[in-house]
């Protein structure tokens, strides 16, 4: 209950951060706007319909990811240091609140805030796609169209579960990133932490590059081992970015639900790891 109380208060506090609201509003606005501008990016109407979708989806997911990453970084960087700045942490820890309860509450609050932000962006994203799909279906259903278009109209599904999986995967990477940054915020100053977090994301996002560096010809076996180790220890943010299935309906490789589940476990373990280390550090931290 103490953890829940701290988490709830954290959410209320975090959602009122102006900078977070700005990112959220801009992201949602641009996702909605993408409805219109995707049309100008293609040269044709029908054949372009699928490429419009593709662009819309990719843009939406990218927008969510980018805004969410900033929100994750900002939340992770500020949540705990602000408790010190406002001296609220003193009154809280002077109460019969165990230190792990405080940290866990903060983690939970950050994850809930990100959940709300992702939920808003994700809902906008899915509604945008569905609106677009309805429009495309209506066009395709018009009686003058022959079998060619008819075939592509059948392909335009109104709702695609892959969108939901994609949004969940997007959320999972926020979860991992903000947990790591929250952990770092116990050690580093806010500015250092922001860039550290961004770096962790960038390296994790480009893990394939890191791996191929490790496999590069001429690399010594020690170096190769180093790269391999790095790629296993850093969270693989690239693995959360697999819009293929969503954007490429012809791809029938694997069960997205199962993959998402696996990634969820992966993300949760990282979050747990960050939380436990944070608790270990915070127990010994002077406040």
């Amino acid at each position: 209950m103490i953890i829940w109380a701290i988490a709830r208060t954290t959410v209320g506090d975090a959602l009122r951060k102006k900078i977070l609201q700005v990112f959220l509003v801009v992201a949602i606005g641009l996702i909605v706007l993408s409805l219109s501008f995707s049309q100008t990016l293609s040269f044709s109407s029908q054949r372009g319909a699928s490429s419009d979708f593709m662009l819309l989806k990719s843009f939406g997911l990218g927008m969510m990811a980018l805004a969410g990453i900033f929100i994750s970084l900002i939340l992770g960087v500020t949540l705990i240091p602000q408790e010190f700045e406002r001296r609220t942490i003193y009154t809280i820890l002077a109460k019969p609140v165990k230190r792990y309860e405080f940290i866990t509450g903060k983690f939970l609050g950050a994850l809930m805030t990100l959940g709300i932000a992702t939920g808003l962006m994700g809902a906008t994203f899915i509604i945008t796609i569905v609106l677009k799909a309805i429009g495309a279906q209506q066009a395709a259903a018009s009686p003058t169209l022959g079998h060619v278009l008819g075939a592509s109209a059948e392909k335009i599904a109104l709702f695609d579960w892959n969108m939901v999986w994609a949004v969940i995967l997007v959320y999972l990477q926020f979860m991992v990133l903000s947990s790591i940054v929250l952990l770092f915020s116990l050690i580093f100053t806010q500015t250092v932490n922001f860039f550290m977090g961004a770096a962790v994301y960038a390296v994790g996002f480009m893990s394939t590059v890191v791996i191929s560096l490790g496999g590069a010809e001429g690399a010594s076996s020690a170096l190769r081992f180093f790269y391999k180790t790095v790629s296993y220890l850093l969270p693989r943010f690239d693995q959360f970015n697999i819009p293929n299935q969503l954007l490429h309906p012809e791809t029938q490789v694997t069960n997205m639900g199962a993959y998402t589940g696996m990634m969820a476990l992966y993300g949760l373990l990282y979050t747990l790891l960050a939380l436990v280390v944070a608790i270990l550090i915070f127990e010994r931290k002077e406040v």
């Binding site: 641009l30 049309q39 100008t40 990016l41 293609s42 040269f43 044709s44 109407s45 029908q46 054949r47 372009g48 699928s50 490429s51 593709m54 662009l55 989806k57 990719s58 843009f59 997911l61 990218g62 927008m63 990811a65 980018l66 230190r99 792990y100 003058t144 169209l145 022959g146 079998h147 060619v148 278009l149 996002f205 296993y232 220890l233 693989r236 693995q239 970015n241 697999i242 819009p243 293929n244 299935q245 954007l247 490429h248 309906p249 012809e250 791809t251 490789v253 694997t254 993959y259 696996m262 476990l265 992966y266 373990l269 990282y270 747990l272 790891l273 436990v276 608790i279 270990l280 127990e283």
Partner: protein, 494 residues
């Protein structure tokens, strides 16, 4: 917290790390499979772009690094191109120019790509419905880059001349190109317009029969090249490389213009001027020999009444027809009677052309060029199709339309081609949704791909062209061409 609890938590950390590595080992192959899944799909699918392009890439383009992102996207587009994933390129191209409107390569390559690369499987014909988009795209490029020659030339030559066979527009845009120099992308320094742009303007003016203007342009091109050569000799480091061959090229081409004017319209003054210029060129040897052959012809005609080669009417005996060979397969065939080089007997131009056609010392490809190689064109489209106005274009191409055209090589006075629209993969390119279709089969002397000897016989604008029923003077006002039109119903094709 007690020491025991801490030890427990440390143990938890170790276990969690082990679990993460274990899961990662399990996930990696799954992830690889998903990431590379898109690459196994065939080329005409449109999903490939995003399969490898994280959305962050696109969104990042909203940040300040527009050119960088544009460059990265363009590299991506190039990869897709080499893999044959053409449809994936189109949105990328739009986006790159949107981010970096001064990237000339993206306009030229993108527009060329639209014109040429969406081809059907059965006939390898390009999808003509994208041509308005291509031209509108080029025009947007020109609006964004109005002070360099590159895009004007590209629009005139690649799109109007080669693809639409509209020499008037081609001449206009290439003339525009001759008003500008270029800029070095890396240094921003002014870069001299290459000589071929000026020569191409003269050629295009000649093709559309603006002979005086063409002649003027040859003088201008000659002057410009001479000046460049002087500059280069004075200071080879500062000037672009140029040598005498460029000047010779101007002379040869100008002399040909003047000679043809002489031959075709019996203009002895022009004939003489042409010879004078031709004789200034001392190489290659076959040119010198052809020139002396023409000089003899000139001397033999001097002082005699002569109206020129193109004064004598030519009955084309144009005939064309179509038949349905199978559902969605049309065969177009016909005859045209004037075109073969073997007919050219007793013409003034013969002295020159026959030399090329028959001289053993001439190069093999030159021989072919002078012997045959004329073409007729066919065009099949929805009866009510009107090409979208590129000036009011909104980038969307209506892919419900059917528009196709192509050329047919004429050999021995007859032509034949098969238009196969039955391949299931081509149904999108040939939707055949309209009730009525117009099939046009025509031939025009000004076709830039047509050998010169055709105009030698019928004049620049087809003045000598005659036919009982197929002469058309409306399609291109001021020109005479051969044309036959059929209206087909949907059931005639399907």
């Amino acid at each position: 917290m007690t020491i025991d609890k801490r030890k427990l938590l440390v143990a938890v950390v170790v276990v969690v790390i082990a679990a993460i590595v274990a899961i990662q080992l399990n996930l990696e192959p799954k992830y690889e499979k998903i990431v590379h899944a898109g690459k196994q799909i065939g080329d005409n699918k449109s999903g490939d772009m995003m399969a490898e392009l994280p959305g962050q890439f696109i969104v990042a383009s909203f940040t300040g690094f527009k050119q960088v992102i544009a460059g990265a996207l363009w590299v991506r587009a190039d990869e897709f191109f080499h893999r044959g994933h053409y449809h994936a390129i189109v949105p990328l191209v739009r986006m790159v120019t949107w981010l970096d409107p001064h990237n000339i390569d993206v306009y030229t390559t993108g527009a060329w790509h639209l014109d040429y690369n969406f081809v059907d499987y059965a006939n390898t014909l390009s999808d003509k419905r994208y041509i308005p988009a291509s031209i509108a795209f080029m025009k947007e490029g020109i609006r964004n880059n109005p002070n360099i020659w590159d895009l004007y030339f590209e629009l005139g030559w690649t799109h109007y001349a080669r693809k639409l066979m509209d020499n008037e527009m081609a001449a206009y845009y290439i003339s525009e190109a001759c008003k500008y120099d270029s800029v070095d992308v890396n240094t921003g320094a002014k870069q001299r317009r290459p000589e071929f742009v000026d020569r191409m303007k003269a050629h295009m003016l000649e093709k559309v029969g603006k002979l005086d203007e063409a002649n003027e342009q040859w003088f201008a091109a000659h002057k410009r090249a001479s000046k460049a050569l002087e500059d280069y000799k004075k200071n080879p480091k500062a000037a672009d490389w140029i040598d005498q061959s460029t000047i010779d090229l101007c002379n040869r081409n100008q002399s040909l213009l003047l000679l043809r004017r002489g031959w075709r319209y019996g203009d002895m003054k022009s004939y003489e001027q042409g010879l004078e210029i031709a004789e200034r060129v001392k190489s290659p040897a076959d040119w010198v020999q052809a020139t002396s052959s023409a000089r003899k012809d000139f001397e033999s005609r001097k002082g005699k009444h002569w109206e020129g080669d193109a004064a004598k009417p030519v009955d084309a005996k144009f005939n064309a027809s179509w038949l349905r060979a199978a559902p969605r397969v049309l065969v177009i065939k016909g005859t045209v009677n004037i075109i073969q080089a073997s007919e050219y007997k007793g013409l003034a131009s013969e002295s020159f052309t026959r030399w090329y056609a028959e001289n053993e010392s001439a190069k093999a490809d030159s021989k072919v060029k002078w012997r045959d190689g004329s073409r007729v064109y066919w065009r099949l489209q929805d009866a009510d199709y009107v090409m979208p106005d590129v000036n009011k274009f909104d980038w969307t191409t209506n892919l419900e339309n059917t528009v196709a055209w192509g050329d047919i090589y004429v050999g021995g006075g007859s032509f034949l081609t098969k238009l196969d629209m039955s391949d299931p993969r081509d149904l999108g390119m040939y939707p055949l949704k309209a009730e009525k279709y117009k099939l046009t089969i025509w031939m025009e002397p000004t076709d830039p791909g047509m050998p010169d000897f055709v105009q030698d016989r019928v004049g620049w604008r087809g003045e000598a062209l005659m036919d009982k029923e197929c002469i058309d003077t409306k399609t291109r006002p001021g020109y005479r061409l051969l044309k036959k039109e059929f209206i087909l119903s949907r059931s005639d094709i399907i």
